[in-house]
């Protein structure tokens, strides 16, 4: 009994009663355990016993009640696909075992060196024919089937080469066995070569078996991502909590998440707080504390508290779905480096067939005696050694592993071309605000004069700023809370002096807070703070001076702070020979202050948002491959203009649209990782292509017999099949090695 869950589209539904009718009809089928129909998605999900229920039964159950089930248009559920693959693999395994077992006896009875130890029965040609026939036509049937089908389209592939090669060997051997007299009349020994046909088939099938297993590993990352999706959600509707399938969640649903639960869809917390592990989606290794108003992403794990959130993105709109889509697209794209391999492989098989014919003619006409035998064996060797698969697998397998590895660590690569260009980057332009820096100012200095304390300064300033949305005001209030300089004082006669600051009364005292000019205009002496003001301004900080009852009381300085990962990232990039440039709309002084902290020497300051693109182009004009790192929203044109646009810390559609690489884990070191990943992937591709081309370029001539005149070396077709079987496996395995490469700081 095999339980299967299948989801398929249903056409023609228009109301809730349609849902019930279809569900009822499906449930009536014997073997169906459950049937859930979703009107919004127009999909039915049926859980059934695949031994009892067929696709046709499901289709007719739906059509009997007046709707149309589009079962065959859907890709089978993952379980079913896996089951089919497993069946295919085990069938292949049986063929490999049988053909190598039978072929082994044939080889024992005929291979020089082994033949003396073999029992007489295996030396009998008729017995060999008997052993070789099932291998040729049962185990080898898939080569024939592939060949016949291809020939109908006037195309040829690997199957064609193997089928022709082994048929020549088998046919000749069968002929020798049945009509030895004719061969002997030609002054040749009547010796069959069944071992060549059987062992070649066995080994090539073995190669295919391992290749299929290894290939499955190349798409592991995307399967893992798909597997992250939550299956159910605990939805609160009409005051009641109920577990529903995640496909039934609608926008605006309130969802309760308990400790240890997987967050089902994207949303915003409306009550409660918790620590959330988003590492599986964003690659961010440290759990993030979230509270009311914060966004949560589907597939992340709730670590500690219980909270309720409102679903804001469902189905294909969720961040995880977007990531999966992006990775799938990247894996479907082609790298420019693949072009040559593509061109070669489209001519490859016909070219090998022509070379094989040429080899036969050459050896028959000019070869030593027995010329027919040499001609046949060398022709078979040419057909068997040629391996177009390695060429076809060289690039895509590496791209699949590379993009998958990136996605696992929060590096989303748009396509294979981006991955290819990224390894050539010579200059990286970082946008300052929000990319190199946190993007919001923080209080860096609090200075108190006279009898005032730092706590006083913060308390007065925070009391004035409490209602303001200005970033500097937010920073002061945050700092006041951190330093516990509370309680805030009630204010009176509040007045905002546009562009300069605020004045108000606190406990009857006249307070001024703002720029130096505000204080000077009100005849307050700031001479005492002259040195501090100069020092802090030079460091690119924003100042708010506080005066109480006509006397300067203190200064609060705030500045945008650099991200903790910025310095390390910049250092690593410079170390790898990449020029790092900082782009900012701020004045040179503020820009320089930040640049110095992270170790950037080339600064492009006072660049208006519209000019960022031009600045990128200017660096490109220096002959460099340029990457631009920005937030992806404000920098879209500059990201698009750069050879590689890297969007930081966002999974929004706009950013993904504009960027070639999206880093969703907000860690600047990922820029370094993305470039390292690109370099490693390209190295793997080059190794694979070199191997695939060199293999064919060197071994095909060897199989043709070019080494024979000098050293008497010929390639036994059995060895040719060993080489052929290992060549594609080695390419796939080399790509899989990418998984173990260290690309992180």
């Amino acid at each position: 009994m095999a339980h299967i869950k299948k989801t398929f589209s249903v056409k023609g539904m228009h109301c809730a009663s349609c849902v019930l009718t279809i569900e009822k009809s499906l449930k009536k089928i014997e073997g169906v355990n459950s049937a859930i129909v979703n009107l919004a998605t127009e999909k039915a999900t049926v859980d059934y016993d695949s031994d009892k229920v067929t696709d046709q039964a499901l289709e007719s159950a739906v059509s009997n009640v007046g709707y149309e089930a589009l079962i065959r248009e859907e890709i089978h559920s993952e379980d079913e696909e896996k089951l089919r693959k497993l069946k295919e693999l085990s069938a292949l395994k049986i063929k490999v075992i049988v053909s190598l077992f039978l072929g082994g006896f044939v080889l024992w009875g005929s291979f020089p060196g082994l033949v003396n130890t073999a029992p007489a029965i295996f030396k009998n040609f008729w017995i060999q024919l008997l052993l070789a026939t099932p291998v040729q036509f049962w185990a080898g049937w898939e080569f024939y089937r592939g060949t016949i089908k291809s020939l109908k389209h006037r195309t040829a592939n690997m199957d064609t080469l193997v089928a022709i090669g082994t048929t020549v060997a088998y046919g000749y051997s069968a002929f020798v066995t049945m009509l030895p007299g004719i061969i002997e009349k030609l002054n040749m020994e009547a010796m069959p070569y069944f071992d060549v046909a059987t062992i070649v088939i066995g080994l090539i099938l073995l190669g295919r078996y391992f290749e299929a297993k290894a290939k499955a590993g190349t798409s592991e990352a995307i399967k893992k991502l798909i597997g992250l999706q939550a299956k159910t959600a605990r939805v609160i509707r009409d005051g009641k909590e109920a577990d529903v399938p995640v496909t039934d969640v609608v926008l605006g649903d309130l969802i309760r998440v308990r400790p240890g639960d997987k967050i089902p869809v994207d949303g915003i917390i409306v009550s409660g707080e918790s620590s959330i592990d988003e590492s599986m989606v964003t690659g961010e290794s440290i759990p993030v504390d979230k509270t009311i108003g914060d966004n949560v992403i589907g597939a992340a794990i709730n670590k500690s508290g219980t909270f309720t959130f409102k679903a804001t993105k469902i189905g294909s709109e969720t961040m995880l779905a977007q990531i999966i889509k992006l990775v799938q697209e990247a894996q479907g794209s082609k790298a420019p480096i693949q072009r040559l391999a593509d061109i070669v492989s489209s001519y490859f098989v016909p070219a090998v067939i022509m070379l094989a014919i040429g080899t036969f003619v050459f050896w028959y006409v000019l070869g030593p005696e027995p010329a027919l035998l040499y001609a046949l064996l060398n022709t078979v060797a040419v057909l068997i050694i040629a391996c177009p698969c390695a060429m076809g697998l060289a690039t895509p397998t590496a791209i699949m592993v590379g993009t998958g590895k990136g996605a696992e660590h929060g590096i989303l690569i748009r396509d294979a071309e981006s991955l290819e260009i990224a390894h050539k980057i010579k200059a990286i332009v970082f946008d300052k605000t929000g990319t190199l820096t946190e993007g919001k100012p923080k209080v860096t200095d609090v200075i108190a004069y006279d009898s005032f304390t730092e706590q006083d300064i913060l308390r007065y300033e925070a009391s004035l700023e409490v209602g303001s949305a200005h970033p500097l005001a937010r920073a002061i209030i945050e700092e006041t809370e951190i330093r516990k300089a509370l309680p805030l004082e009630p204010i009176e006669k509040f007045e905002s002096v546009a562009g300069y600051g605020i004045k108000a009364l606190i406990q009857g005292k006249q307070i001024y807070a703002g720029k130096e000019k505000l204080l000077n205009d009100n005849n307050i002496d700031t001479q005492i703070a002259k040195n501090d003001i100069e020092r802090l301004t030079r460091a690119g900080k924003t100042l708010s001076l506080l005066a109480v009852d006509g006397k300067l009381a203190g200064i609060i300085a705030a500045a945008d702070t650099v991200k903790p990962s910025a310095k390390e990232a910049v250092e690593a990039l410079k170390k790898s020979g990449i020029e790092v440039v900082m782009l900012t709309g701020d004045n040179e002084r503020t820009g320089k202050a930040i640049a110095e902290q992270v170790g950037i020497t080339r600064i492009l300051a006072e660049v208006l948002p519209g000019e960022k693109e031009t600045e990128v182009k200017k660096i490109q004009a220096e002959g460099k491959t340029v990457a631009m790192v920005g937030d992806g929203i404000n920098d879209a044109p500059a990201l698009a203009a750069a050879d590689i646009g890297i969007a930081m810390g966002t999974g929004t559609d706009v950013a993904i649209e504009a960027a070639d690489i999206t880093l969703i884990n907000k860690d600047l070191r990922s820029v370094v990782s993305a470039i390292a990943l690109s370099k490693e992937t390209m190295r793997t591709i080059k190794q694979n292509l070199f191997w695939a081309f060199a293999y064919n370029i060197i071994l095909i001539p060897v199989a043709m017999g070019v080494l024979y005149p000098l050293w008497g070396i010929l390639l036994n077709p059995i060895f040719a099949s060993v080489a052929m079987a290992t060549s594609s496996i080695s390419v796939v395995s080399n790509s899989l090695r990418l998984k173990t490469k260290k690309i992180y700081l």
Binding site: L151, N157, R208, S345, I353, M354, G392
Partner: protein, 118 residues
Amino acid sequence: MDKLIVIISGIIGILFTYWFFLMKRERTISANSEIEIIVEGGYSPESISIPKGRTTKVTFLRKDPSSCLEEVVLGDFKIRRQLPLNQKVTIELTPQQAGEFKYSCGMGMYHGKIRVTD
């Protein structure tokens, strides 16, 4: 004499192989809004034409168990799809650019063409 026959047969064989595989004439089938491509020893029809800017549903139906054909890659459209045996897999294409776009099986052995017309 036998050598002469082998030489002549060889030359004929090579020419035939060249003609058979590399000189086949291409027939392009134009698709209106949907088209089905049978995947069996290649793609049939091998060449299709679809209009630019409009969505065309291209349905692949793989009837060939050969593992070579289990994936189809439309690199220009960034699509790589598994084609389960005897299952229809529909891909929606809305090309924005006219031209000729090649697609292939996962290993690049079998080829098909999509012509996008204005």
